[in-house]
């Protein structure tokens, strides 16, 4: 990665650019809505990962092997990963556009995190289980969830548009971090079922693992801690996959931790790795390794994928209020897709025709995504009462019957009543 000004080892407070003493020193007048110099340094610092980062494919497109994470990489794999990332980015951008056009209430962009998600997602086997947060559209893609199934949440037609059990990709979780405990519990179940630690036969094994996705901000939540405590206590085969995208809405990662996030794992006695989250090959190799550790009974494992949220937090957010364009510019140089493209081209692994065909496929996907979105109807009111319980529930049945009867009472009205508007 390119060297950047403001080394993390610089004296002062590398992880604490805005301590009280700093603030006291510059006085309240120092706070003027613009990032202070120390904040600028902190922002840029975040691009400097320290020596501990696992990287296989450099931003310049150079591929090197890593002795701890051996992984066979061929042209086919790289092309497939490239295609995944381009397609995912394309429909992600379409999500933003649909929101701007009023077709979605909100969209949560993954821009910049394609490698972190595709690398992890492609390391999973169908029999593994994944617990996402809410930004994991790339992982969803790898799990076979059709992108259109993601739309309901953001259009307000459902809370989860895919079958989390069949896809082994849980519903999105919005309450920060609390899915991490559910993931740990699921992994405990895998262990209790004897689905780990059995010998391979014909290169195949029935061993399973679970992966939990969460952000840098989430690491502060008690549930994430308890997930790690339980996983360690029960040797649960779970990979704690933290996408450190440097920001939790407007708060830089320095607000959550003084030290790199992967180091949390040391306090619990299991391994942690920091991987270049913009390097899809490294994310794949490290996640593959971590899942294997879990499957063979050596879980849990923590991965910090060091990446960057290149867009706003959501379409409702305005990042110009809290970070500088310089920072975003810097990370553009580290783009996760570009480096794969450079490598493919330079190594003669793909020609223009390939890139064009992926581009065309992406446009088709985007068009289908858009068309599907626009056609999605308002669900019927019965949906309010459906699936609250798995077994019959007389009280809700009564409330539903009463409400439907109430709605029906408008039907005779001359002005073709729409409930919720004045109809009298």
């Amino acid at each position: 990665m390119a060297a950047v000004p403001g080394s993390p080892e610089s004296p002062g407070s590398p992880y604490h650019p805005t301590t009280a003493r700093d603030a006291a020193a510059r006085g309240a007048a120092g706070l003027r809505g613009q990032p202070t110099p120390s904040e600028v340094i902190a922002g840029l610092r975040a691009t400097s990962h320290g020596d501990d980062l696992v990287q296989l494919l450099s931003p310049e497109g150079t591929l090197t092997a890593h002795e701890d994470f051996p992984f066979e990489v061929d042209a086919e794999l790289l092309r497939a990963l490239y295609r995944d990332m381009v397609l995912v980015r394309r429909f992600d951008r379409e999500g933003n556009a649909l929101q701007r056009q009023g077709q979605l209430s909100i969209w949560v962009p993954l821009l910049g995190q394609e490698a972190a998600q595709i690398g992890a997602g492609r390391a999973l086997r169908p029999s593994d289980m994944a617990f996402p947060s809410y930004r994991e559209h790339g992982v969803a893609w790898c799990r076979g969830v059709d992108p259109t199934q993601l739309l309901g949440i953001f259009r307000g037609t459902d809370h989860c548009g895919w079958d989390p059990k069949a896809t082994r990709f849980n519903c999105y979780t919005i309450v920060i971090g609390n899915q991490v405990l559910n993931a740990t519990g699921y992994a405990m179940g895998q262990r209790f079922d004897g689905a780990i630690g059995s010998p391979e036969a014909d290169g195949e094994s029935r061993n399973e693992a679970t992966i939990a996705f969460f952000g840098d901000g989430a690491t502060s939540q008690g549930d994430v801690h308890e997930g790690m405590v339980f996983a360690a206590a029960f040797d649960a085969p779970v990979v704690f996959y933290c996408q450190n995208n440097q920001w939790a809405i407007s708060e830089p990662v320095e607000k959550q931790s003084r030290v790199p996030l992967w180091e949390r794992s040391t306090g619990y006695g299991f391994p942690g790795v920091r991987v270049d989250g913009n390097d899809v090959v490294a994310c794949l190799a490290v996640t593959h390794w971590a899942l294997e550790e879990c499957r063979s009974g050596n879980g849990p494992v923590m991965i910090e994928a060091f990446t960057y949220r290149m867009d706003a937090h959501t379409t409702s957010d305005d990042p110009t209020r809290y970070r500088l364009a310089d920072e975003e510019q810097h990370w553009k140089l580290l783009d996760p897709i570009e480096r794969v493209k450079v490598h493919l081209s330079r190594q003669g692994m793909a020609d223009q025709e390939f890139f064009d065909s992926v581009g065309a496929e992406a446009d088709e996907l985007a068009a289908r995504f858009r068309a599907h979105c626009i056609a999605m109807p308002k669900p019927p009111p019965e949906r309010i009462f459906a699936n609250v319980y798995s077994e019959p529930h007389h009280q809700l049945a009564e409330q539903q019957a009463e409400y439907l009867a109430y709605l029906a009472s408008f039907e005779g009205d001359h002005d073709a009543a729409t409930p919720g508007q004045v109809t009298r």
Binding site: K165, N178, G185, Q190
Partner: protein, 358 residues
Amino acid sequence: MSDGVVPHPHAAPPDSADSKPVTLAKALNMSLRAAMDEDPKVIVMGEDVGKLGGVFRVTDGLQKDFGDHRVLDTPLAESGIIGTAVGLAMRGYRPVAEIQFDGFVFPGFDQIVSQVAKVTYRSQGAWSMPLVIRIPFGGGIGAVEHHAEAPESFFCHIGGLRVVACSTAQDAYDMLRAAIACDDPVVFFEPKRRYWEKGALSLTDAALTDAALTDAAAERERPPACFSSVVRRPGTDVTVVSYGPSMPILHAAADAAATEGRSLEVIDLRTLSPLDLGPVLESVRKTGRLVVVSEAPRESSITADIAARVTEEAFYSLAAPVLRVAGFDTPYPPSRLEEDYLPDLDKVLDAVDRALAF
């Protein structure tokens, strides 16, 4: 039992081969054991539930017999207990999670509100959530802070949960079996100060089935449910309803009132959410007067809900407003004051008097 009236639990148990007096705690223990015997997916988890058998010994001997894969001593963290139980349920287990005391459920509250209660809804039914959260609740045991609370109303306010409370050994056994068999999450309240009281327990097959529990309900032609309310003692003048720990007080009140020539109809709610108001409404249409008894504070509570709904549905039958005997809207006091705080015989009789004076 088909008329919804069961024998007075203080009456001597029928002396038959298949019925014997056991403590409520023991009945729960037997219920867990039977469920675990029948279904290998039933697991028990919580703090000190293993070798210790739980601080109330409800899980006594289970780890010894079923192993530490199925009876898990967990790290000390309630959100962790509930949150991992959710994941285990997704994996196909039927976890029975123990919260050591009522006042310690709150660190796990987010998991209950945001996951336990919503997983099925969010997933449009793809996940069921067959999870039981056992909570010893209520006061009267002279305990320190946080060990004597009645938090049931919080859970009744959460759509997606079922909430029940048992009051007899027989119900403890049957209702816990039914709760474990239920594919929905059930918050299961156990009246801790009644753990050591003995009651008849009959293990006939009928008692084990859901059907038996919902008999009365089915007869009133409402949809099947795991649980239903029950008239414990018929009467004509005032209806008194409660659940869990206060039930013996209601029976005592009915006895005391009888000596003054007043006839109380005693109802055990058993299910707190959804409420099974059928028997209550039927009774109120007869008596015209209702007293609701609970240890929980009053504001935004289960007693308020019963009062509101009964008034709405039986307005013209009521000769008096629904009166409540409940906890004050304070934190639970130091235990030497709990007899002032808790419902007791005098308070119930006073409320009955007031209802009759209207």
